[in-house]
Symmetry: C2
Subunit: 118 residues, 2 copies
């Protein structure tokens, strides 16, 4: 469940977009991450998990918030998992997901308009 390779940004690519042109490999990595969050359901899933008390949420909590079927939620969770944005763990009957904010941070940094260079 948690042995996904971290497809995403390992840290070496954080100079803001507007500062210098992205290299092609950097762009490919970043595009994968942005694609993972370019779906409304996945954005809300990530948000629900990240903002949930205790930092983790049960799938059973998540499914009710959407109009789609269980398998569809499971599919979206898998996409987020493969992007390294969340991680799941089974504890007894339920599976709990937890967000990885440190993976989001570089994405935000790249988009940041290079805050006021004096």
């Amino acid at each position: 469940m948690s042995k996904q390779l971290p497809l995403v940004v390992t840290g070496a690519c954080c100079s803001p977009l507007a500062r210098e042109p992205l290299s092609e490999p950097q762009a490919v990595e970043l595009a994968k991450a942005f694609k993972a969050i370019s779906d409304p359901i996945r954005l809300r899933l990530l948000s629900l998990i990240a903002s949930h008390e205790g930092g983790e949420a049960c799938v059973c909590d998540l499914t009710d918030a959407f109009d789609v079927t269980g398998p569809t939620i499971s599919h979206h969770l898998k996409v987020l998992r493969e992007a390294g944005l969340i991680d799941g763990e089974r504890r007894g009957t339920w599976v709990y997901y937890r967000a990885h904010p440190e993976v989001l941070a570089p994405l935000a940094a790249v988009l940041m308009p290079a805050a006021v260079p004096a």
Copy 2:
């Protein structure tokens, strides 16, 4: 050329992902924006334009940086334009594109892990 409606984030949606759950309409808007930058070519186009001296770049400068045909570049520029991320203007023979950093800022803010609440 510049009469695209601003499909994107008009400001009212900037509470970080990890702070509180996104509403469904917020998620839909944000997902559109992220989808626009979820392609390596578009990310590099945006980066090339935003980091270009003078803040604008000629399409002729952009095309050479990629292995795809002119129409494909034109298509990607259109996607970025429709997302409100860039704007194009024809001056004589050439068309110049300019980035809108103020549209990127809210996207970065949403991803930001709610920087240290003391």
